[in-house]
Symmetry: C2
Subunit: 487 residues, 2 copies
């Protein structure tokens, strides 16, 4: 039985399944902050895939100048948000909540406003802005609201063991660091009433020097659950403190190691951040709380997602990049069409586009597509003249080439599979070129490869021929030198 | 049955138990590189505790100028090393291997020599130096040798996905990055013969942006095992790339986040790096290799250590800080005197002393002790007038105070225990003061505390009275402001 497709009631919001689109910047908005066509198209596209929950990208509760960014900071944004909610609800049973954010000022010079600079009045203003924004989310017909307490932003900086250098009641101790988050969720709850889903997202491991890890994250989670958080979404990293400075650009979180841990690339093992929800969930249960917990961070396979739920490590599976690559993943998994999923390869081109302030797209989409492609005709890619996959040694890498496939609706890309023994295969990469250099193949193994073409709906060609290649193990013996004989 | 105290044969070296002192700088050596009295005393002290294996702190295979550092770079160091081996062997069945290291130049200006600057001749020289040093280790009567391929040093920088920017056969691909390590272990094996234990230590997760993680670590481990590594010791982080610059000091690894991950503090969960040996061991087994793997990184409790072995996640338990705090831990665990262990609190005072180029001692040792104290008389600490533990609220922290205890041999310190419910207790901290401020206690819980005094042998007083204190849950409701009502 699939736990992924077991509904989950979160306050008055019923999710049809346990897959949630976690908030992901699109850079499709403009500086005015209004919902526009690009935003609408992007989220309606997600809704057609029928995830249980869509968390809309972070929208500002305050009016500070910023780059392209959605806003929920005044009533003028209500009509756009209302229409967006209506469009999503008209598309599928998917529920939708906005992630609401406050952030401090950053300058191109590298200067950043920090939480120790905030007066008590400014703190009260921010809390009021959160409450008003949450109230607007309800007024817009959205199904709940998610308070952004994660990564590099204001509430996260109060929670941070490193960033919060205040010495008043908002800092100094864990209880002090909790205060701002506690006052915010309390004010939000008062604004929206008891029957509106209020979730929180924060990082379970700051992944920076001197930051907190799961020991404190579980205490933060407990407190927010006690104060009525309806779900707890756990991220990691994404901090200013280890950002990589770039000429002429303001500091940007996600550019350093903590950014890598927030969105783990193909270099990392699947589920690298699962220790976080595991620790939090265990602690909540020990304190008698069943508050749903969302796990995220390269949960790439259905098997892993089901196992996380079965093990009680989390109640919701968060995905952003995986749903960007294929918004229809939830529907395909539900309908037993797993093999038709266009699988994220965690290449982080989307992350790099964001870091460079460009519209966020997926490397796997057809060139120039603004959204995940959709086709409805039956279209099975094929190699009329055979795939003719070839593998050859090029120095210390292996070079693959194959023929271009054809399909009625066009070929979107090729999956590349690799095996050490010709029996057990793993998906190595994907792309729309007809060649690939494997820089991770090592000597002394006969590497087996296959490729498979797919169209925009994930219809797949037959597997190609198997190509094999092996680098001979180098001779690592050096002639003995005078150095090794004497000194 | 204890797996920890099951012997392990590593090539011709038989370890009596599975506890290994991992290499830890002492800064007790002088710039001349010779074994001196301080070094001898430190390692003989460790040997009295009877760990299965002592890995001596890194000693240089080359003659470059450096600060205080042991050397094995020429035959003049042989007499000192021979005598050190003899002294350790004369003390207990503990086996001892030196960790041998090559490092590149660093300057106070921040300039660092990097692996792309090395000519092929220089590479050959380094390999020859490793081989000669390993040969000397055997000649000195040491039981094996450990090749330092970890952290920020030369061999690690070749393995690194980030640091290795070479475009020749020593870089560019995983196989290229492996070459230097492969040539080194091959040359070392040829120098020492087949029957001498050759271990390797490298990082299983670089913990820096763009570094490798377990995907590649397992391939590195496989190759080194195939080339005859007799054990594989896995560390994490410790890189130059994220070091914290300090005025007038050359760059020093371990000062950044990757340094925190190398030596996880009390902020981190126990066993935070265990995913590394787990992934490596699984991969080796899948490839038919039984090469022993050493796990390290805040494996703090006997239960965790036994579980790691029982689960097959590793074959050896590495400890450095835990054995610094109490070198007698292996003996005490073996003899069922677990309660007499003076337990490391992972305060990282030792790490900070190293970073500041000072002799490495333990915060838990008596002030001014150069080595872990030893007493042999029977001495049970007691509170003649009662402990009188008091706990009181001070703002958002709890302040504990208690009476000084007395013991024939002197009181070394106090363990502080905490409980949420008065039933399940955890050790919170230790120290030699008679007061403590708990900055991690949160409101709304009645916190229970006990203290216990111990002497240098770990003889313990009775537990103190239980003191309780609770911060009332603050009122997180703010008066509604005009901001929250309108804009």
């Amino acid at each position: 039985m699939s736990l992924l497709f077991t509904p989950l009631q979160i306050n008055s919001m019923r999710l049809e399944n346990r897959i949630a689109l976690t908030a992901m910047v699109t850079r499709l908005s403009s500086e005015d902050g209004f919902v526009n066509q690009g935003i609408t198209d992007r989220y309606v596209r997600f809704a057609r895939g029928e995830p249980g929950l869509i968390v809309l990208e972070a929208m500002a509760v305050h009016g500070s100048k910023s780059g392209p960014l959605l806003r929920i900071s005044s009533d003028e944004f209500l009509p756009g948000l209302t229409e967006l909610a209506r469009r999503i609800h008209g598309t599928s049973p998917t529920k939708v909540v906005p992630q609401i954010i406050h952030f401090l000022k950053v300058a191109r010079s590298g200067w950043r406003q920090t939480v120790d600079m905030l007066s008590r009045d400014e703190i009260r203003t921010i809390i009021g802005q959160y409450a008003a924004a949450a109230y607007r989310a309800r007024a817009a017909g959205l199904d709940g609201v998610e308070l952004h307490m994660a990564h590099a932003y204001t509430l996260a900086s109060f929670l941070s063991k490193r960033s919060n250098t205040r010495t008043d009641e908002y800092g100094r101790t864990l209880e002090g660091r909790l205060r701002m988050a506690c006052e915010t969720i309390t004010a939000v709850r008062r604004a929206v009433g008891p029957d509106f889903a209020v979730g929180v997202r924060f990082v379970g491991d700051e992944c920076i020097k001197g930051g907190y890890s799961t020991h404190e994250a579980r205490v933060i989670a407990l407190r927010l659950a006690q104060l009525g958080a309806d779900y707890i979404s756990l991220s990691a990293g994404g901090k200013f403190e280890d950002h990589v400075p770039r000429d002429g650009q303001p500091p940007y979180p996600y550019t350093g190691y903590s950014g890598d841990r927030c969105m783990p690339s193909h270099d990392y093992a699947d589920g690298i951040n699962l220790y976080i929800p595991t620790a939090v969930k265990e602690y909540l249960i020990a304190h008698g709380l069943q508050t749903p917990v969302l796990a995220a961070g390269k949960i790439a396979t259905r098997d892993m997602a089901e196992a996380v739920l079965a093990n009680g490590q989390a109640d919701l599976i968060g995905m952003a990049r995986g749903l960007l690559a294929d918004p229809d993943l939830p529907r395909k998994w539900r309908d037993g069409q797993d093999e038709r999923v266009v699988g994220c390869i965690y290449c982080n081109v989307c992350k790099n586009l964001d870091e460079n302030f460009r519209q966020v797209r997926c490397f796997l989409w057809p060139k120039d597509s603004l959204h995940a492609p959709e086709i409805h005709e039956w279209s099975v890619p094929a190699w009329p003249g055979g795939a003719d996959l070839q593998a050859e040694v090029r120095g210390t890498s292996l070079r693959l080439t194959w023929n271009r496939a054809a399909a009625a609706a066009g070929v979107q890309g090729y999956d590349i599979f690799r095996s050490e023994d010709g029996k057990s295969w793993t998906r190595l990469w994907a792309g729309n070129m007809v060649g690939y250099s494997d820089f991770s193949a090592t000597a002394g193994t006969t590497w087996h490869y296959m490729v498979q073409a797919y169209d925009a709906a994930g219809h797949r060609s037959a597997l190609s021929n198997v190509a094999v290649a092996a680098m001979p193990m180098p001779d690592f013996s050096l002639p003995q030198t005078s150095e090794s004989a004497s000194d």
